[in-house]
Symmetry: C2
Subunit: 411 residues, 2 copies
C-alpha cells in the first residue's frame, strides 16, 4: 500500500459530509459531531496494526510500534470552530493517517522508530475560550483549577463537557506521560494567511510560532460640543488613537513582526461630541523575543507621545501574552528538504496563529511544521480552501518529512 | 423699577430649586416639571401689563404693547435636557423678563414698539429627537405628518404629549401667524463652548449658526488573521478611517469651520482580526455655505484617497444637513455696541449649536444673538455654569441691545 494523497482528499470530503452543513464544519470539541469525526478516524485506524488510546486529557493516540522505543509524533486536531473550514486541523490528522499506512506497509508494521499520530482535543478553544487545551495538558501547561471555571455560552462547564465524553478534568495533567519517549514532533497545517499564495508557492517551512503581546490602550480626552469647540482646543481621544492606528504600521516596518488594532470603542460615541474616551485593542506578534519587546515598547512610546501632544492621557491594560516558540533548526532544514523533494521552491515563514506544535516545542520536544498554501488567506470559515494539487503535494511532503525525522531521531 | 440683574440670578436659582434635583435641571418639554417652570414664569408676568397667550404650537408669548405695532421679539426656552444645566434657555427667558420690567417701568407700560417675550416649546428635542420644535412651527418649518410619527422611549407620541398640555399637533403650523408683525428677534444664550473663556471675555456677538453636514463614512476592507497576515498585504478598514480622523483637522484648518468624528464602529471588532468594516460618524459645520460644501467635499476626497491607497472601498450615508444661518449684520453691530456699553472688549464668534434664533433668521426676521461665557465649555449637564458677574453683565447687555433694536426698528 503506497502513499495515496488523493485518498486523503477523499477522506477529508467524506468527513466534511459527515460533520458539516451548509454553514461549514461543525466539529466543535466535545460535541456529538466531534465524536462522529473521531469515530470516523478510529474506523480507519482499525485497518492498521496500531494501538489506539484516549489519554486522560481526551487526546486520541494511534501508536505504530517501531524497532526503537523513541517516538516520532505526528499531530493534528479534528475539532473545528463553529461554521469552520474543511481543512484546518483535519488535513493534519488525515495526512498523518495516510503516512501511517505507508509506513506500516513499507516496514511490515514495524518502522525503525515508533510513530504516533495524535488528534489533540480542543485545539480551537471555540467553545470555552481556551485554545490548545489537549496539547497544553500534555506539555504540562494547564491549570485545572482555572480550567474548571470556564463555561460555554449555555453555562455548561468545561468539566461537564469533558465528563460527557468520558474525561475527568482533574486527571488531564496525567496526559503528560504520553510525551515521555517523544523524540520529535511534526505537523502539517494550512497556512491561514496569504504569504504562500502571494509567492505562488504550494508549501513552506515554518520557523516557529510568533510570540504575542495583547493589550488594551485607552486614551482619555475631554468630551466637548462638536459645534461649539474650536479644533485647536480639543482634547480628542480618537485623534490620539487614530495616530496610533497608523503608527503601528511604522513600528512593524521598523521592528518586524505584525501589529493589529482589531477593535475601537468610542465614548460617549455620539455624533455631536468630541470623543472623550477611546479604547483600542492591540495585538502584536514577533518570532523573536527582543523584537516582540521592541514592538510593545514602540507602541507604548507612540501612544504616550500622541496622548501628550493631544492633551490626553493614556493607560495600558494587559490582555494576554506568550513568548515566541521557535522550531528546531535541523528539523526546519528537514522540512525544507522535504518540500524540495516534491516541488521546485520552498519558503521559510513564521506562523502568526498558534498551533499545538507550539506546545510541543515549549515541552522541549524538537518540533517542526509544514504549511500548505491557503486560498485568499481565509480560514475559520466555510470558504476556507486549498488547491487540491497543493493538498496532494502537502501529503507527499509530510511523508518525506516523516522519513527524514525518523532518520534524524536515529542519527 | 430699574433693571436688576441680580434679580435674574435669584430667579434662576429659584427656578432651579423648583424644577431641578441632585442630577440637574429636569424641565424636559411637556412634562410636569416643565409646566411648573411655565407657571413660575406666568406668575412673574402677572406683575406686568402684558398679555400672555399660548400659541397653537405651545409657545408662550408675553406681549407688552407699544406705540408701534411693529414687534421686537426676545426669545428663550424654559425646557431643558434631562439632568441639564440651570442656564441653558432659562437665562434667556428670565433676562428677557427683567428687560420687560425695565421697559414697562420706563415707558409707563407702553414702549416705542411692541416687545414680546417668547418661551419656545421644546427647543432641546430631548424627548422626541426633534429640536427647535416650537420655533420651527412659528417659522413654518415643520411637517406635522412627520412629527406625528415621533415617539419617546416609553412609546408615547409627540402628539399625545402635546395633547397632555393642551396643544393639538395638527394646529401647530398656525403658530406662524405670531410672526406676522415681527421686525427683529434677539436672544441671549450661554456659549456652550470654550471660546470666550479662553479669551477671558464675558460676552460675545454671534455671527450666525453654523450649517451642518452630518454623514456616515463606511470603509470596507478585508478581515484577515492578525497573526498570519503581513502588514503589506492588509486591507485594513480601520487604517483608512484613522487617516480620515486625522485629516479632518487638516481640512478644517484649510476651510475653516469644525469637523468631528464622534463615533467609530469596527467589524468584526475582535482583537485577532484585521478590521473588515469601519463606520465613522462625521459632523462638519461652517458659517458659510461654500465653506461647508468645501469641508464635505474635502472629507469625501480624502476618504476616497485613503480607501484606494489601502485597498479598501468607501461609501457615504446622509444623516442630516442644514444650511448656515447668518444673523443680520446691523443687528450684530448693535450686539457688539451693547457689549461695549457694559464691558471693555467684545468678540465675534459663530454658534456651533443651533438655536431658536436660527429658525427666526430662516423665517426672514432680522436676528441677532448675544453669548455669555460658559465655564469649561460645559452645557447639558448639572455642572454647566457661568460666573455670576458675567451673568449680570449679560442681562445688562441684553437690556442695552433691546434699546438699540427698538431704535433700529424705528430707524
Amino acid at each position: 500500500m503506497s502513499l495515496d494523497p488523493q485518498r486523503t482528499i477523499d477522506e477529508l470530503k467524506a468527513l466534511r459530509s459527515l460533520t458539516g452543513d451548509e454553514h461549514g464544519a461543525q466539529r466543535v470539541a466535545f460535541t456529538d459531531k466531534w465524536l462522529e469525526a473521531r469515530t470516523f478516524l478510529k474506523e480507519k485506524l482499525l485497518e492498521l496494526p496500531v494501538e489506539v488510546i484516549t489519554d486522560p486529557a481526551g487526546n486520541l493516540w494511534a501508536t505504530l510500534k517501531g524497532e526503537s522505543e523513541r517516538e516520532l509524533l505526528i499531530g493534528g486536531h479534528l475539532d473545528s470552530v463553529p461554521n469552520g473550514g474543511w481543512l484546518d486541523g483535519s488535513l493534519n490528522v488525515l495526512a498523518g493517517l495516510e503516512v501511517l499506512r505507508r509506513l506500516s506497509d513499507q516496514y511490515a508494521g514495524k518502522p525503525p522508530v515508533t510513530v504516533r499520530l495524535v488528534d489533540w482535543a480542543d485545539e480551537e478553544g471555540a467553545r470555552f475560550g481556551r485554545s490548545l487545551y489537549g496539547s497544553s495538558a500534555a506539555s504540562g501547561n494547564i491549570d485545572v483549577h482555572a480550567l474548571a471555571q470556564l463555561r460555554d455560552k449555555g453555562g455548561i462547564s468545561l468539566g461537564a463537557a469533558l465528563g460527557g465524553v468520558g474525561v475527568i478534568l482533574a486527571d488531564a495533567p496525567q496526559a503528560k506521560s504520553q510525551l515521555a519517549k517523544a523524540a520529535a514532533y511534526i505537523e502539517l497545517h494550512i497556512e491561514q494567511g496569504p504569504v504562500l499564495e502571494n509567492l505562488k508557492l504550494p508549501l513552506g517551512a515554518v520557523l516557529g510560532t510568533y510570540g504575542v503581546e495583547r493589550h488594551s490602550v485607552t486614551f482619555h480626552g475631554q468630551a466637548a460640543h462638536a459645534g461649539a469647540t474650536p479644533m485647536k482646543v480639543r482634547r480628542d481621544a480618537l485623534l490620539a488613537a487614530a495616530r496610533l492606528a497608523q503608527e503601528i504600521y511604522v513600528i512593524a516596518e521598523r521592528c518586524g513582526g505584525v501589529c493589529t488594532i482589531g477593535s475601537v470603542k468610542t465614548l460617549p460615541g455620539i455624533v455631536t461630541s468630541v470623543v472623550e474616551t477611546c479604547e483600542v485593542l492591540l495585538d502584536q506578534r514577533h518570532l523573536n523575543a527582543q523584537g516582540l519587546a521592541d514592538l510593545w515598547q514602540g507602541a507604548q512610546d507612540a501612544a504616550e507621545r500622541f496622548a501628550e501632544e493631544g492633551g490626553c492621557t493614556v493607560e495600558f491594560g494587559d490582555l494576554w501574552n506568550i513568548g515566541p516558540l521557535p522550531f528546531h533548526s535541523e528539523l526546519i532544514d528537514a522540512v525544507e528538504a522535504s518540500i524540495l523533494d516534491v516541488t521546485s521552491h520552498s519558503h521559510r515563514l513564521p506562523s502568526g496563529p498558534l498551533h499545538d506544535a507550539a506546545e510541543m516545542s515549549r515541552a522541549g520536544i524538537p518540533t517542526a511544521m509544514l504549511f500548505v498554501q491557503s486560498l485568499r488567506g481565509i480560514s475559520h470559515n466555510k470558504t476556507e480552501d486549498t488547491d487540491e494539487a497543493h493538498l496532494r503535494l502537502s501529503v507527499q511532503a509530510l511523508d518525506k518529512l516523516t522519513d527524514r525525522a525518523v532518520r534524524w531521531i536515529l542519527r
